[in-house]
């Protein structure tokens, strides 16, 4: 995962900052942070970064997480997208739209550790 960037997308600053903090500690690298899907998508489109892993909330203004997931998987099907939601209805939608993982809220520290071990740190 040498060149991989990790981005956390969500409009709830408390949750977003916590996930950023925990991931930064886990992988010892800077974590990108976006407050909505539109900003995240614009970054992705303007970035030369070879790969970005997205942790995205579903309910957001501008462009929600499922719209972001759809756009990413359409154009970059191999990018990893982890969706986070407190609404059970979003689980099936996320799965159908190609999400690589679904993190059901409220989640705990070990859930994020498991995601890191399974999808990010592969060594």
């Amino acid at each position: 995962m040498q060149d991989v960037k990790i981005a956390v997308v969500g409009d709830d600053k408390i949750v977003r900052d916590h996930v950023v903090n925990l991931l930064m500690y886990c992988v010892n690298r800077e974590i990108l942070s976006f407050e909505d899907g539109f900003t995240a998508w614009n970054y992705l489109e303007g970035s030369d970064s070879p790969d970005i892993i997205f942790f995205s909330d579903v309910n957001m203004p501008e462009m929600n997480g499922l719209e972001l997931l759809t756009k990413i998987k359409e154009k970059y099907p191999h990018k990893i997208c982890i969706m986070m939601s407190g609404d059970p209805a979003n689980e099936k939608l996320a799965m159908e739209l190609g999400a690589d993982a679904f993190l059901a809220k409220p989640f705990n520290m070990n859930d994020l550790f498991n995601i890191v071990e399974t999808l990010i740190v592969t060594d």
């Binding site: 500690y25 886990c26 010892n28 059970p88 690589d100 809220k105 989640f107 520290m109």
Partner: protein, 265 residues
């Protein structure tokens, strides 16, 4: 050896069994079992201290001991601390209590509407609908996260950060930054915090004055070591004592040796 057992059976501590085990009802495993386990109905409970080296196909399983093998559950897999699984798991519902550990892949799928016949384990793995890695709360418990959810997790993370430091795990630039931010956040949130929440885990914390001071001290210590302040033998001992006190107060017993990625910075 083949063995078939009925409801409410028990393989006790110190007992070893090797072969195929088929059961109905509820069975507790407190001993050491090698082979293959299957059931058409009922629940397999792996007690604390119990070890299973086997592929398992059962309706429900509760893991408080250790399982080395793949698990397919037709209804639910429930991890309880200090349960541990090394293998791939698959079930409609997977729940994990903090303190339990899991190394492998997790798949969830829609529960079948009709009753589930026993089928071959390997065939079951291939036949299941391919779905995504699913973690977090079970569907009935899903909701948006509250400030208190984050606060308790931040404190647990600070405990992990401190344990990793005490055991000389590598701390790179961004890890230091993360420790400082988390310590500041915990110190800020716990400052002047009072007792009285309706959550069981938080009730145990019951923020009395001593506990609160301990948390503030832990935050100060964590910020100190992340900023590179000198930590001699006695400061490290004080940090360790404080980590132990807080871990016990919040019933948090994660072993950092189980978190592989911390060994690499």
């Amino acid at each position: 050896m083949k063995k078939r057992v009925g409801a409410n059976s028990f393989l006790g501590k110190g007992v070893e069994f090797e072969g195929k085990l088929n059961f109905n009802g509820i069975i507790n495993i407190g001993g050491h079992l090698k082979g293959k386990i299957s059931a058409t109905e009922g629940t397999l409970i792996v007690d604390e201290g119990g070890i299973i080296e086997s592929n398992i196909h059962v309706p429900c399983i509760i893991i408080k001991g250790e399982v080395r093998g793949n698990i397919v559950a037709d209804h639910k897999i429930e991890f309880r601390a200090p349960g541990k699984v090394l293998g791939n798991i698959q079930a409609p519902v997977v729940t994990m209590q903090e303190g339990a550990t899991f190394e492998g892949n997790c798949r969830t799928y829609k529960a079948r509407e009709a009753s589930t016949p026993v089928i071959d384990f390997d065939h079951a793995l291939q036949a299941r609908e391919h779905t995504i890695l699913r973690l977090g709360s079970p569907s009935p418990d899903m909701r948006e996260m509250h400030k208190n959810d984050i606060l308790l997790t931040r404190l647990k993370l600070l405990v992990i950060m401190s344990k990793a430091y005490l055991e000389d795990y590598p701390v790179g630039k961004y890890r230091k930054e993360a420790i400082i931010k988390n310590a500041e956040q915990v110190a800020s949130e716990y400052a002047g915090r009072g007792a009285g929440t309706d959550d069981k885990s938080r009730k145990k914390m019951d923020f009395d004055h001593v506990f609160n001071q301990r948390v503030q001290l832990l935050a100060t210590m964590a910020k100190g070591f992340a900023e590179g302040h000198p930590m001699g033998h006695f400061r490290k001992k004080a940090l360790g004592d404080n980590v132990d006190y807080i871990s016990k107060a919040i019933t948090f017993n994660n072993r950092i040796s189980d978190i592989k990625f911390l060994k690499v910075a």
